[in-house]
Symmetry: C2
Subunit: 509 residues, 2 copies
């Protein structure tokens, strides 16, 4: 396998822009070309999540190639939900590594801010399982349910969880304040964080990445430059929450990381800094655990102790991350690569305290369903000894096991596995909306919406029923439980003789 190098990177300022998607892509490309000694391109690999619904145009690869003056050359659009940019980077890596092309332009972009928040939320929610969407689940709602479960599993008090999430938001906004390409360039205080409204408990506005326009570009080449791609890995996970084994980590990230580390021939300790997919602050904590930087359940402590700060031993999201740099969904995966390359070169907005030799980017598609890890390093690094490396043998060669099983029928009772109260609801749902993942006695999971928002707690018993095709749950109150216990007792009492002779009942002589 031939080594693949990064020749140049560039991006637009992220934020609300009057430019079209095409114009944003042109600007990012111009900047990557200015940054690169290589000026000729043999193919375009484009990551965009959903231009069809965001802009009304399909056939986007041909369109962007035309605007760039590249008509004639191969142009592919790659998509894996919100990790589309990273996916395009990986496909381009394979194209160069295969010898198909020498110089390839990787572009990620998305245009989102011209639509209403409810329209954008609806489009983004299409990545979610259909049944979960029918209950009113949105991306923030599912992220919130994962966060609540994380809190419970690692025995954090609600106050402590909030403090940890606040620290992630503050760190990333502080970093973003030094990044001229970031959407938000102002540090935030604890007070700003705690006065922001809940989007979906326990996640506040400042826990969620914003809606953003932007594009980012990188030129990959087989000719040696100062930065090489030393490891790539991709992994997938179940789309629905109810198919998962774990709600407090993303298997897709773990698989992707294992592959990338094996290919690069290194361990997580050898990473100098990282850009991770903090679409929600809690996801940054989980990602740093999935990447092996910190033990499970300790990612929050690491933030609190300043380990991931700009001057810490392992800076995480020195660019400000998705939280502060912004999250034009298709662009973010490439923007992370732009930032890590700049970090290695010392040309990033937020300066690292010590020189970095090797960095990692992690991108998440959907609710952790299609994730990528990319490791890049300086070619003058003494660490870089083994390139060109053979690709890692994939850990999961699989015999396809095509499922034709019907989803289980809704049980009548269960317990709350995790929950949230959603305050920014999709069209057709009134806030506040209680949502919970319910586990029945057989172990099956069901997403359901709550009759009301009171008495929600992990482990609580609930009744389940279907109303107009939606699953609805009711938390069992003390009174209900007493009534149930009495009923059970009553059923054990033999019927009275008088009752046996009730008129209208068939009698036995």
């Amino acid at each position: 396998m031939a080594t693949v190098y990064v020749a140049g990177v560039g991006m637009t300022k992220f934020g609300r822009s009057p430019q079209t998607l095409t114009e944003l892509c042109c600007e990012a490309t111009s900047r990557a070309l200015s940054d690169s000694a290589i000026q000729e391109i043999e193919a375009l690999y484009l990551g965009v999540m959903n231009p069809e619904e965001f802009t009304g145009d399909s056939n986007i690869a041909s369109r962007i190639a035309e605007a760039l003056g590249l008509t004639g050359l191969p142009a592919l659009r790659i998509e894996t939900a919100s990790s589309a940019g990273a996916a395009a980077f990986h496909a381009a890596f394979q194209a160069v590594a295969s010898g198909s092309y020498r110089h390839v332009l990787v572009l990620g972009g998305e245009k989102m801010t011209h639509l209403s928040t409810s329209a954008t939320t609806r489009i983004l929610a299409e990545v979610i399982d259909r049944q979960e969407r029918q209950c009113g689940a949105t991306m923030p709602a599912l992220a919130a349910m994962i966060t609540e479960r994380y809190r419970k599993r690692y025995r954090l008090s609600p106050a402590r969880l909030e403090r940890l999430l606040c620290r992630v938001a503050m760190k990333n906004h502080l970093n973003g304040s030094r990044n001229p390409y970031a959407q938000f360039q102002q540090a935030i205080t604890e007070q700003t964080y705690f006065s922001s409204k809940f989007v979906s408990t326990p996640l506040r506005l400042y826990d969620c990445s914003p809606i953003t326009d932007g594009a980012a570009a990188a030129i990959l080449t087989s000719e040696k430059t100062d930065v090489a791609v030393s490891g790539v890995g991709q992994g997938t996970g179940p789309v629905s929450l109810r198919e998962r084994d774990s709600f407090t980590s993303f298997r897709a990230t773990q698989i992707a990381a294992a592959r990338a580390y094996r290919m690069a021939g290194i361990s997580p300790r050898e990473i100098d800094f990282a850009e991770v997919h903090d679409a929600f602050t809690s996801f940054e904590i989980i990602s740093t655990e999935d990447l092996g930087f910190f033990p499970a359940g300790r990612g929050g402590d690491a933030v609190e102790e300043g380990k991931t700060a700009l001057d810490g031993p392992l800076p995480v999201n020195p660019s400000g991350g998705l939280k502060s740099r912004g999250h034009p969904v298709g662009a973010s995966g490439v923007a992370q690569l732009v930032e890590v390359v700049r970090g290695l070169r010392g040309s990033a907005g937020a300066k690292l305290k010590r020189e970095a030799k090797r960095a990692l980017a992690q991108s998440t598609g959907g609710l952790g369903t299609n994730n990528f890890v990319t490791i890049v390093e300086r070619t003058d690094s003494p660490l870089m000894k083994n390139l060109p490396l053979p690709p890692a043998p994939p850990p999961g060669r699989k015999r396809p096991a095509i499922k034709r099983t019907q989803p289980p029928a809704l049980s009548e009772e269960g317990r709350i596995e995790t929950f949230t109260v959603l305050y920014v609801t999709p069209d057709g749902f009134l806030p506040p909306l209680a949502l919970a993942l319910i586990r029945d006695r057989q172990g099956s999971l069901f997403m359901a919406q709550g009759e009301d928002v009171s008495h929600l707690k992990i482990g609580r018993e609930v009744y389940l029923r279907q109303v107009g095709g939606r699953n609805v749950f009711t938390v069992k109150s003390h009174l209900m439980k007493v009534r149930e216990a009495l009923k059970k007792l009553l059923s054990r009492v033999p019927p009275l003789p008088a009752q046996r002779r009730r008129p209208g009942k068939k009698e036995t002589p």
Copy 2:
């Protein structure tokens, strides 16, 4: 570059299906696995054109991987409009050739028939240039304009063009009648063809591929099998008609073909049979010219002479093509590969008269904007001597020339470059709708809709104006021309002294 082989192929029956996109993909995969000695898969490369709008679900790669029981493994969705399946095949080829994976599943699929024809037409029309769409242009309308221009350029009478198109439709329906996977399995007569209605002149219903559900799968591997991929090539062209140099050929196909032939080290003469993208009958004729099978303008004669028939020297679309097999847009590119592999193995529905060693598949994205050519051959073929081959040097290394020019302002006059009368119009447009591409004196092209459908002819002079954001043209009648000539004459006559002294005009003493 490592050689890439095809281990197994399979597809669903194409047509109107009660199955979901996921179910169709599962069925095609099952069949490809049954056909393959390789049962383990390391990654999924999925070609779907627009599941977001056709089905309301995004994040499709993760979804399909999950349904196939492949969760955990890398899964990418690739899209290049109606050639998405071929694009997925090419990206998968690069992934195996790079050594990233040994065994890869390529899947193409689309679910379309559950929507109304007008909704489907609208979604498909999103591949078209926005300004052209605003005038009411649809894919059949633009294909019709290309066909009309082809007729004019090669001096075919309207009757002769019709006869040639009819022959393509008859051949493909006859071939499809022998293919158990085809949507239409009945041969058609000349009478059936000529009694079918115009969709967009000169294209009738039997000139257009249908709306279809279906999926197709192929397993690519680095382990030697009976069929190898010996050449791949991709090329792009301008999205809008008005940016094109030629309306009678597709540069994107020519580029893709040149690359694929060079990589395989062969000429078009060494191809035994081909599956080409006959979304419209005229496109089959043009494609066989672009692929170098026949000289420009002679593709129609070749059909008439039976050269591309099942028993001819170069069978084209022995499977029935998109016309008769059906066209689930994302699936077609993979289905073509399924058919050529079956043809080489002698297991296709329609038997070739002589044993084939090498075959070609050509897929078109949008209006010829993103096209692919793939050459596969039997590994026992004495022709196959040079594998593994180095990849072809791309003919078009390009310095990006990012355009920021505004489109030219609408001229007041011009001439009809090509036209059509559209009978199946998009929502908001009443049939019959005249559409024409108008060239002004400066050589700029404009798409415009006609005031009425009379006097349409290539070369006719027209007036142009804007009405509510749409370009509208009026054919100059004889009377208008006489009036214009008189006006011009009049302007040369010096004004009469009486007129000079009209009251209200400033007078010179």
